[in-house]
Symmetry: C2
Subunit: 433 residues, 2 copies
């Protein structure tokens, strides 16, 4: 395998560039360095890497070569999940991140000039497959966007009772199903379930006719609270390893019949998709945007010194089967969330609930103020009553078989854009029954 390395010269002396060709202009520059688990197409062993430009840097190879030192006696990166590395804590995350940044920098020659090692460590993304980044034992999903909760509330309870009395006092959430969190690219089977049609007394059992996406951000826990001690809202950041894009696929007709009184179950548990690369929270710190003042004031354990959200621009597109044309369905931003990530985590553990490394918390659908900012078809089509037009002329209320939903996100900062990659899933009806 030959690797074409072109030394890119710095245009701006205040920023560090990488020697990896194209990295500095890409969404995977030296300022991003997301972690993921990959497998070379010609090998079996999964290992941990970071994305740089169009390449993956194999961290297991660098670690074995002695270029990545940590306090741990065990390998951090020759593993099939990020759970162990993430459990090592913020200091280790920082040391490793700084070290990788340094090794990839144009000013550092340790890796750059070691052609043999470089050939082993730097793999074109085309030569690998990505795997699920964490072994996920816990998945919870919140409901933290005010526009989303209001839109859904209006549809089901009318304008007067749109937001329920608890919504502004606590981040409403529920337990999801961890066993069906899938990686981007996994085909999504249209689920069957019990559906109550308007004019009938008894439900029918059929394929969902109201299959929807939900645009969310997912956060992965690095350091848990194994003793059940609650996580302080002002220290919660140090527990959060990084973020991914998340699609909480939802079957609205199944949900409508099943969800009272214990919440959504089979309407969600068939599939949740996440993007492959976990962007470290540290990479996003310059994009942190203060949240508007929360009113009414929340109770003490939710009072955060300065609640913020990363400024992540998010987009949802739909690409129908046999079409090359993508239609943008929604554009919104992570800053639309009412509750901060730290508030969600503090709330989740205030009752002594135990978090483990690799646990995933979803933000809930992120909707902005206007129709073009709404993060689900339920909202955009007013529960299927107002179809939208795709660019190629087709209409949609909910998702059709063969539709691919593409979620992308990036964070724009002073000197670079930090990308989340693309989260894709195609709806299918062909899967076994």
């Amino acid at each position: 395998m030959s690797i074409n390395i072109e030394k890119v010269h710095s245009k701006n002396k205040t920023m560090t560039e990488s020697f990896v060709q194209g990295a500095s202009e890409s969404l995977f520059s030296i300022y991003n360095l997301p972690y993921g688990v990959f497998q070379r197409k010609d090998e079996k062993n999964p290992r941990i890497g970071t994305a740089i430009g169009n390449y993956v840097l194999d961290l297991a190879v660098l670690e074995k070569a002695g270029l990545l030192i940590s306090n741990s006696n065990q390998s951090l990166f020759d593993r099939d999940s990020l759970n162990f590395f993430a459990s090592q804590g913020q200091e280790t995350w920082s040391i490793i991140r700084n070290r990788i940044q340094s090794l990839l920098s144009i000013d550092n020659h340790e890796l750059q000039d070691n052609a043999e090692l470089l050939a082993k460590a730097l793999v074109p993304q085309a030569d690998i497959n990505m795997l699920l980044p964490f072994k996920i034992e816990g998945f919870s999903d919140f409901y933290a966007s005010e526009h989303h909760a209001t839109n859904v509330g209006k549809l089901f309870r009318g304008k007067e009772n749109a937001l329920l009395p608890n919504w502004k006092f606590l981040p409403v959430g529920y337990n999801g199903r961890a066993s069906t969190v899938f990686l981007s690219g996994t085909q999504i089977p249209r689920p069957k379930g019990q559906i109550k049609l308007k004019d009938q007394d008894a439900p029918i059992f059929d394929f969902s006719n109201k299959l929807d996406f939900e645009l969310e951000i997912g956060m992965f826990i690095g350091v848990g609270n194994p003793d059940g001690r609650r996580i302080d809202v002002n220290k919660a950041t140090s527990h959060i390893f990084g973020l991914v894009l998340l699609n909480d696929w939802s079957a609205r007709d199944i949900q409508a019949f099943e969800y009272q009184p214990l919440g959504p179950f089979l309407s969600k548990s068939f599939a949740t998709s996440i993007s492959s690369w976990v962007v470290p929270l540290e990479a996003l710190k310059d994009s942190m945007t203060p949240l508007p003042k929360q009113f009414p004031e929340c109770v003490e354990y939710l009072q955060q010194a300065s609640p913020m959200q990363p400024n992540i621009k998010l987009r949802v597109e739909i690409q129908p089967k046999d079409s090359n044309i993508r239609t943008t369905i929604c554009e919104t931003n992570c800053t639309e969330l009412y509750w901060s990530m730290e508030q969600m985590l503090a709330h989740h553990t205030v009752n002594h609930c135990i978090m483990k490394p690799g646990d995933l918390l979803g933000s809930g659908t992120i909707s902005g103020p206007n129709k073009e900012n709404w993060g689900s078809l339920l909202e955009i089509t007013f529960n299927g009553t107002e179809p939208i037009k795709l660019v190629d002329g087709q209409e949609r209320t909910f998702l059709q078989d063969g539709d691919t939903v593409i979620i992308t996100g990036y964070c724009e900062m002073n000197h670079s854009k930090i990308g989340f990659g693309s989260l894709e899933g195609t709806v299918s009806r062909e899967r076994h029954d």
Copy 2:
């Protein structure tokens, strides 16, 4: 360690007795043989055993001695959880169970006459600690007792709307929190949370004042559906490894404020307790009792040839702090469940949701027709409005600090009683905050 083995002579030629002293008269006879994970007090290694009388039979020792043969090349019993053994399937479960029954029988001399091996393999229960039997990655809880759902519905929605429209069409359930499933004996911290008092607009943050138990049966999945293929209701039995007692601790005041619209979350996720010994479904087969005809008829995937429940007599007692007196609070039976275990499992997977070995499914609170058969204080005290009297004269609406809740269960069959042991938990306020 000396073991006193008394050969018990068979009183009844049609039943097999064990050579282990006291076993035949106990709830842990040769017909029970539940599995659990234990640790000798003087050793570190956890391993798998079965209960026989007042002893634990160390199956790792027997396996090593070549007395337990299976198709697997790997050890089934020298492990810290039942997940691997349970994943081997019904044929292996039967072979092993029959073999253990044979080895413990008075008519078999392989183990009985091998004093050295017996001394190693048969450990008094007083010399061991029990551990969580499974590594549990998924926990779901159902709501399958009609009396319970009706009682709760009446309290919150009035008599007319007690059962919601979906209840008789599908086993209503929700995702629970697997990380806080604890073993019997674990102290239960009274959770803090947001509670809305009657005369106030905003919630307060305080200790729950309405801490409750929920009497349930838990079923452990042995064989999952890793490919997401749905589990047929008429083949579901072969996926169920065994049953335990389960207490779904609930903070009713936290639940009341948080649960709309996504269901219970922090009001449940602080703790769920299970009993130590997993009783194999096979041990209960002679107690299987047909369920009353379900009406209205359910949709096809829930139509089971002959839905049954094991006849398990269940009891809840409360023992206050510094008291030796237990008060029986509830007596009921597993046969009070409207939906069968197989129907719950078929429903859970009908949307392609993935089950794994060690996943736990709770039945939901099991309540019978009368007040003395109701499985939670919420029902028994009409949400705290009608206190009950304990034997020692104290009153209770909900649980007090120091109260121990004891759940016991057994199955009475022709020739023996099959015990589930005791599931205990003491409420505490002292735990760290």
